[in-house]
């Protein structure tokens, strides 16, 4: 006996096997992201006043990425419709746009990530804060010769057996007496936070770190959620890319099965877009 309903739908359910499979898989994905969103809510509700950053992310880039993903959702449907209309050429074109959108999304996302890794916060020994992008750092070797760096290499580093220790860092940003001035700029109308270069000597630094996932729970959940989402984008793009390239051979032998594959991969792609539709307001706007 052959496995039934691999291509044709089962009459009483109206679905072919893979379609049932992908919907079930998406249900579990909803629970996966649902758990992370719940974690977001719990962490945010539990955060002490002034510690949850607002307006930290670049809304313009986020909006562009939202538009990019919605566009790709449309082209994924158009690709499937093209196959249904027996227009293979158009399918190729639409899926090519989908793949370009996926690449564009990941490119913009990596720009945003990079920005966060060069964004530093210093807690000074007097309890005040300096927050901004790394402008430069000066290191000294044992003989007292100074060395300028554009990147921060930690409080000390070793290169060619020479040990360098930090003299000062220069951040392009703001000074603040309290964390809430940095995290909640919208509440603080009195101070005008104009960015300027601020130099902090190593001796005054209590703690310095960048806005990686270790910075605070907001950054932790931001990187975890968007990172997991990006993995899904990559996974979806790999599948769509395979079906666009080598996998497209199946169109000649089993067109209906191939169309089903495009439909199933499209369903996954829609889910990935939908997750972003939730991520964007939750992380960028609220």
């Amino acid at each position: 006996m052959e496995i039934p309903y691999t291509v044709k739908p089962r009459p009483d359910t109206g679905l072919y096997n893979a379609k049932v499979g992908i919907w079930l898989f998406l249900a579990s994905e909803v629970m996966l992201f649902g758990a992370l969103f719940s974690a977001y809510i719990l962490l945010r509700v539990g955060a002490s006043a002034g510690t949850w950053p607002h307006g930290l992310l670049n809304v313009t880039l986020g909006t562009i990425n939202t538009i990019v993903l919605i566009t790709s959702s449309i082209t994924v449907v158009m690709a499937w419709v093209s196959l249904k209309l027996n227009q293979f050429g158009k399918f190729k074109m639409y899926q090519a746009i989908t793949l370009l959108c996926a690449l564009a999304f990941l490119g913009i996302k990596s720009v945003e990530y990079k920005d966060k890794f060069s964004h530093y916060q210093i807690i000074k020994k007097d309890g005040t804060y300096v927050d901004g992008h790394m402008h430069g750092a000066t290191y000294l070797d044992k003989e007292g010769k100074s060395r300028e760096e554009h990147k921060f290499h930690g409080l000390s580093f070793k290169e060619n057996n020479v040990e360098y220790s930090l003299k000062e860092v220069v951040l392009n940003g703001i000074e603040a007496a309290q964390l809430s001035e940095i995290n909640e700029p919208h509440k603080d109308k009195e101070h005008k936070h104009e960015h300027k270069n601020i130099s902090v000597p190593a001796a005054e630094i209590q703690k310095i770190n960048n806005y990686g996932p270790w910075h605070n729970t907001y950054m932790a959940i931001y990187f975890t959620l968007t990172g997991l989402h990006a993995l899904h984008v990559i996974g979806g793009a790999l599948v769509i890319g395979f079906l666009w390239g080598p996998g497209a051979k199946m169109w000649r032998t089993e067109p209906e099965r191939f169309t089903n594959r495009i439909e199933v991969s499209g369903l996954f792609w829609h889910f990935v877009d939908l997750v972003w539709i939730f991520l964007f307001p939750v992380l960028y706007l609220l």
Partner: protein, 625 residues
């Protein structure tokens, strides 16, 4: 039956144009649901015994704290190094090796992990589900055979990662199978990281399996196999698959977050102001240890039903078959199972009464916990009433099932005091809890799994396992299981805490000379440790007849005389033995419910599901084309 002697190859040839698969294709990288089921079964049985062995070593430490481990002490030392340090006599000569506290913790954590995620779930769900479900619904295979293979492979990878973690520096994860943060996160060794990554593979395996099972049951039912004609076992697996599908992802999310805490130094589960060894931890803080517990138990409680529902499914099949009566209350069973499936998602925080999450939340979960006991009781009652007036065949599978009923009953009823907030405050984290859930899982689920093995063995191999040794296995296992777990209730109620490295010796009761009152745990309860340990080792010994029986019978067991040796009604017995690739010679048509035993007016006392109406004789299956 008629087609026992059919050439098995013909069922295969028409299916697949490609050549006959070789050894690797047939037994290792197989996509056939029956082979995958057997792969799962044997792997899971090995893991079960391994997990049990960890506990046998721990039981030595509990009964004889600090004494040299007999038999395997030097082996442990050679494999694990200083985790099993030597002890010396007066002259400085090493006289033996003991279990260090760290090793005890690691064994405890891995015993739980291995038993649940690598033993019972793969055996109850993946092994029996894979082998039996497609046969019972009249399908040629699972809906996605290659996904099925990937599921097994992912399971093996997860298992290997867990095993490897014993040998890395610092040893395996040692924060309990629940891996509560911050304890699990802050250790400097990598055991916990291995545990998390292993779990991600195991979760992936379960996810692939669950998708496959549900899709198979929805899409692949044979003509006429409507929902209310499904054998109860299939219903149980169906609900179980949904639990795995929806409950495991939150644990995966939690695992990802704990992994981030370990490797990216985030603080998802680490609160502000956390002090470790007297020093303020260098973390960003702001996280919530309770968040881990919520996410863990959101999986953890449905997981309990993942462990028990397939067992109930097996018991139902075997009771119906051996009472020669329709199961009592088939619809009640089905609806109760669905109710359990739904309710199991809203009871999780009854594991967390002691965390101080708030009395209002506790009250809510206490209420839902009491509600979920109702469908469980309905199911058990249906099984008991099914026995009523039956002319019962007391073969080995039936004996295990009959033992399952009171054992699961004890496990379930002793859960009620744990479900109530106020009594849980006292009993929580004592041996009472251990006894409670082991009664459900060990003499409960595992007995049902043994029953299933004895019951379906003839279908898988064409031979019976020995009845005599089966009964020896049953009666002695039954005895020792109870000797192990019954005293733990007593110890727990006396206040003996679980996870104590020395079995409570530190807290041994001392009579206050002034008043004569005993402060601490009276010695009589600590002495039970020795008895329990001896029973545990005896339990291991009485598994030897089973292990020998299992392998010996493959070649030498009594041959089945028909394809339906138990004279059962469900479809898995209407195939050749063992079923060929593709299972059925012709597509089965289903005409009746699953348990039509002793229907008045029929010549024989069972009516297979594929027997047409009016008792017309079933046509002899011809060669499929």
């Amino acid at each position: 039956m008629q087609h026992t002697n059919h050439d098995l190859h013909h069922g295969h040839d028409h299916d697949h144009a490609h050549h006959e698969p070789g050894f690797w294709g047939k037994y290792v990288f197989s996509t056939d649901h029956k082979v995958i089921g057997i792969q799962y079964a044997i792997t899971a049985l090995v893991f079960l015994f391994f997990g049990f062995s960890l506990m046998m070593l721990m039981r030595w430490q509990l009964a004889y704290p600090g004494k040299a481990i007999p038999l395997v002490g030097s082996l442990l030392h050679n494999m694990l190094g200083d985790a099993a340090p030597g002890i010396t006599d007066a002259s400085g000569k090493i006289t033996g090796y003991i279990m260090s506290a760290d090793l005890y913790n690691a064994f405890g954590a891995m015993h739980g992990t291995i038993m649940v995620f690598l033993g019972i779930v793969p055996l109850a769900f993946a092994a029996f589900g894979n082998f039996v479900v497609p046969l019972q619904i009249g399908a040629p295979d699972m809906a996605f055979p290659r996904v099925n293979m990937a599921s097994y492979q992912s399971f093996v990878v997860g298992g290997v990662i867990m095993l490897v973690s014993f040998f890395i520096p610092g040893g395996a994860a040692s924060a309990g199978w629940t891996s509560y943060s911050p304890l699990a996160t802050l250790g400097s060794t990598h055991g916990q990281t291995f545990w998390i990554i292993g779990m991600v593979f195991l979760i992936t395996s379960s996810l692939l399996g669950a998708v496959n099972f549900i899709a198979t049951i929805i899409q692949m039912r044979a003509p006429g196999m409507n929902w209310m004609r499904l054998p109860f076992f299939v219903w149980a697996q169906f609900v179980t698959a949904f639990l795995l599908l929806l409950a495991f992802p939150p644990l995966e999310a939690a695992a990802v977050m704990q992994l981030m805490d370990k490797v990216a130094h985030t603080s998802f589960f680490l609160p502000t102001g956390l002090v470790v060894s007297g020093q303020l931890a260098n973390i960003s803080g702001g996280g919530s240890p309770l968040l881990w517990q919520h996410l863990f138990w959101f999986l953890g409680h449905p997981e309990v039903y993942v462990l028990i529902l397939p067992a109930m499914g097996i018991v139902c099949e075997i009771i119906a078959n051996n009472t020669r009566k329709p199961i009592w209350g088939y619809k009640s069973l089905v609806y109760s199972t669905l109710a359990i499936g739904f309710l199991s998602f809203i009871v999780w925080a009854h594991h967390m009464y002691l965390t101080g999450m708030g009395t209002k939340i506790s009250t809510f979960f206490q209420t839902t916990t009491m509600i979920i006991s109702i469908p469980s009781v309905i199911i058990l009652t249906c099984f008991f009433i099914s026995l009523w007036g039956g002319s019962i065949r007391f073969n080995t599978p039936m004996l295990f099932c009959l033992a399952f009923l009171p054992m699961f009953g004890i496990g379930g009823l002793t859960g009620l005091p744990l479900g109530f907030n106020y009594s849980d405050l006292f009993l929580h984290d004592t041996y009472y809890v251990i006894a409670h859930f082991h009664y459900i899982v060990a003499p409960g689920t595992i007995f049902a799994l043994f029953a299933g093995i004895y019951y379906w063995y003839p279908k898988a191999t064409g031979r019976h396992m020995s009845e005599f040794w089966g009964k020896v296995h049953f009666w002695l296992s039954f005895l020792f299981m109870n000797l192990i777990f019954q005293p733990m209730f007593v110890q727990g109620m006396a206040g003996l805490n679980r996870r104590l490295y020395d079995g409570g010796a530190t807290y041994a009761g001392v009579a206050d000379p002034a008043t004569g009152l005993v402060v601490g745990i009276p010695q009589v309860f600590l002495d039970l440790n020795k008895m329990i340990s001896h029973a545990a080792w005896a339990l291991a010994l009485v598994q030897i007849p089973f292990i020998i029986n299992f392998f010996w019978s493959m070649k030498n067991g009594k041959k089945v005389t028909s394809d339906n040796p138990w004279e059962a009604t469900t479809l898995e017995w209407q195939t050749p033995t063992p079923p060929p690739h593709g299972n059925f010679l012709t597509e089965p048509h289903v005409y009746r419910g699953p348990y039509e035993y002793s229907v008045p007016g029929h010549g024989k006392d069972f009516t297979p599901q594929n027997e047409p109406e009016h008792g017309a004789p079933q046509p002899i299956p011809q060669k499929a084309h």
